[in-house]
Symmetry: C2
Subunit: 497 residues, 2 copies
């Protein structure tokens, strides 16, 4: 794979001085277009020890408008990072619209190093590469420019670079594993070539750079970045054109589904009775959950609970009964409403990654990432190709949340339209509940069938084995609350077995 | 201090049911006003073990609009928190405009516990209380509603509450120090009374709540919160009226200072010569800094470097020479430009706290918190009473940054108006530098004397012993860069001695 990158090509200083100004200008203009078009740019600078990753980062901060460039080195892992799914540490540094993030080694560094040191087997390494590839595809499809550079050296040049470093004594600052990797040229090259092979895609391709000569390397890197940005801009234009065409085409699929009976229609709400001994049973469940959740805390098992459902279905009340049964020190409730501008400038899952629980902790989302395929779909806030892609993205995301035995529960609180109307009227009569009913709620109510259809497809496509949907008949609030608590208690018990 | 709170007063269920609806409505309306007026609300719920802090947090999330309420428990300290000045963990959770943050024990918890266990002496405890009081004053003056509750029990009721807990086995989840505190009623009450005495101020008063009876406690808490919000609203109105009056009064002080010679005028820029052997000296300094900064890293000494100065004075170039001499893994450059809306919704120092370095790391700010007393003052973006208060706030902030031997360096890059004009023209002639010159730069240039006067006052009031200003003659860029690097090298050497 690296043959053509190991030729040791060079470029004289004179030639560099001639070519640099024009390339610099092109790079700068490409960045400017990203800012104007609100394209986030992710540049991963990976490579062998001594290939000049640091020098590239310095070059980029000089040649680009550094006000919009952030460099990130994923070196030491903090305990806040250790206690969450591994991708969290990268998600928190992803670039916002118009911004450029330069990742030193990115998510490949650790993975390649561990493979080189034989800390992971071939299968695990392959699986992790597939996961990164899936993440990159999702980001690219959401409009991010993804540029991945591998700075290569042949064996002789690599040995020379190491020798220079040792003389400068800079290697003293590396960890033992860094030194091991530096010494194992073949192992690292083999890990890199496998990683590149597994993650090289049209929308997130690798550029392999001959890094023996700094001038040649620098020019090649800048060319690769310009090409990557131009590719993304072309994709953005193509997408805009496609969306315009699609707008004018009627959605046959939607119409065809109209006549189907939805999952929710099939639920019998009438038979639900008010539970006897509600208070006693509630207290008992809360006490059980309190004890179980502390055992889960000690074992580092986190819980993510999300609540969706009709307006006035009783999400808030159910959540309060839950939090009354857990310790405030390990529980957080995240209400999801309009995103902040920092959140809007990122991939739509970014704002949820922000809040996912640490090992042993509990996060309760009052509404969630499913807004993408519910309100954003029904209200046409998001083009179909984006919300349609979200099912797979969400399944992928949830798979990461449920790794290592962590708990993820998804509740849909279900009521009938008649019951909703009764509750709306009741809320309007109570002074401190009146604010809960807005014009928007009445509008949403008018779109009941569209929401039911969207919910139906959501159940179908995101009820996975590890994270099924729990549809809770909520016509009787007390019944619904006990049911939610029982499901969480049982999930804790299962996880602690 | 706690006599009147230890009477064990109670309120019957009947009385509670009568009074609750009206109080709930008043609390809700008070919150609504805070949302409309963009007032951030900070409620600290502190108290003895068993006094019902958790119950209060649950009550508030039920009675207030929980979409705008966030609870924070400062329980486990993460290593990201440990590696920064202690207040960082609280700053990151401060409420944004219109939001309510409920702090379980807040910054008082740890402090009181340590005092109770005799882990800190009287003097250190007093000093820390003064620091929290200063922070609270700053926040209150910036418009935050600060409400502090101490939930009290007399010795008998406390013993009864503990016994109940032990029977419920919930105490098993406490750490040994929690148990120790629970057992030492007198020690905790003494620490609390001292803390309350030292931090009780008009703009951030304590409410001491008799917590023996839950009904009485809940009503008292809600009343205290309503009163705190009303106090803040009145202060906001008073401030608006005051600002209006001040607007029409000419600023005599400003005119009087007009004729003075500024610090910057006194600097002789003409005598600075281009350094000989620039490249060689630069490399030498960078190498020295590289080695020293790694030694500082290993010792956990962090560096905060900030750059201010005239447009085109060469801040970016100097910063790049610095970063070329430090390891990318431990260095971050934070360019300061327009704040995001999340940043705008917080105290103006919040966005700088966000980025301060971990122990051993280096953060370089390209422009800084001094914007408050430079551009915001000159362009009249901030009322005088706010920027005038900022000098003290900044000194307090910087004192925290320089604690534990950490390095803080403040550079002002100084050039003459003639040199600036030459550089503006030069930039306009180079395609990839043209973007650096905007209409705003030309406008700023017209206000040179105003900026010089603002800079002058800034030097005067914020050149502290631990963090003096370094005014760098930057008429010759190379000279300025070497000077910056030398100053940093010397600071590292001093810190490592």
């Amino acid at each position: 794979m690296f043959e053509s990158a190991a030729l040791g090509r060079s470029c004289s200083n004179k030639e560099f001085e001639e070519k640099a100004p024009q390339l610099r200008m092109r790079l700068f203009n490409a960045q400017l277009q990203c800012i104007e078009r609100k394209i986030p740019v992710l540049i991963t600078v990976a490579g062998l020890v001594g290939s000049g990753r640091g020098a590239i980062i310095n070059l980029l901060s000089e040649w680009m408008d550094s006000k919009h460039v952030q460099n990130h080195v994923f070196w030491l892992v903090t305990d806040e990072e250790k206690a969450r799914p591994w991708p969290w540490r990268f998600w928190r540094q992803l670039p916002a619209a118009g911004q450029t993030a330069v990742f030193y080694d990115g998510w490949y560094g650790e993975a390649m190093r561990r493979r080189c040191c034989r800390d992971v087997g071939e299968n695990e390494f392959t699986a992790s590469m597939h996961r990164w590839q899936a993440l990159e595809s999702g980001l690219a499809e959401s409009g991010m420019a993804i540029i991945k550079l591998w700075l290569h050296l042949n064996k002789k040049d690599h040995a020379r670079a190491l020798k220079e470093r040792q003389e400068n004594r800079s290697l003293v600052h590396f960890s033992p594993s860094d030194k091991k990797i530096a010494a194992d040229y073949d192992g690292m090259v083999s890990a890199a070539s496998r990683a590149i092979m597994l993650t090289d895609r049209d929308n997130a391709p690798w550029s392999i750079i001959d890094a023996a000569d700094p001038n040649f390397r620098n020019l090649s890197v800048v060319k690769a970045i310009i090409a990557g940005i131009e590719r993304t801009i072309a994709a953005q234009d193509a997408r805009a054109a496609r969306l315009k065409v699609l707008e004018s085409v009627p959605d046959v699929e939607e119409d065809a589904r109209e006549s189907l009976v939805s999952t929710l229609d099939a639920i019998d709400l009438s038979s639900v009775q008010a539970p006897e001994h509600y208070q006693k049973e509630l207290k008992r469940l809360q006490k059980e959950i309190y004890q179980l959740s502390f055992r889960a805390y000690k074992k580092g098992i986190s819980s993510t609970l999300i609540f969706e459902g009709w307006d006035a279905a009783g999400k808030g009340g159910a959540i309060r009964r839950l939090t009354a049964g857990t310790d405030a020190r390990i529980t957080r409730v995240i209400p999801i409403s309009a995103p902040s501008d920092e959140e809007l400038a990122h991939h739509y899952l970014w704002r949820f990654w922000r809040h996912i629980p640490r090992a042993g902790f509990i996060t309760i989302y009052d509404r969630s990432w499913y807004g993408r395929v519910l309100v954003e779909r029904v209200e046409k806030l998001t083009p179909k190709e984006d919300w349609a892609r979200a099912y797979a993205e969400i399944n992928h995301f949830e798979h990461q949340l449920t790794s290592k035995g962590n708990i993820l529960l998804k509740f849909w609180l279900h009521i009938s339209p008649e019951e909703q109307l009764r509750r709306f009227r009741e809320r309007e009569a109570i002074p401190w509940k009146r604010y809960k009913i807005t014009d928007e709620d009445w509008r949403n109510r008018d779109k009941w069938p569209e929401y039911a259809r969207a919910a139906d497809e959501m159940f179908l496509r995101t009820s996975t084995e590890e994270a099924p949907w729990h549809v809770i008949p909520a016509e009787n609030k007390k019944h619904a609350r006990l049911m939610v608590l029982r499901i969480y208690r049982d999930a804790l018990k299962r996880a602690l077995r």
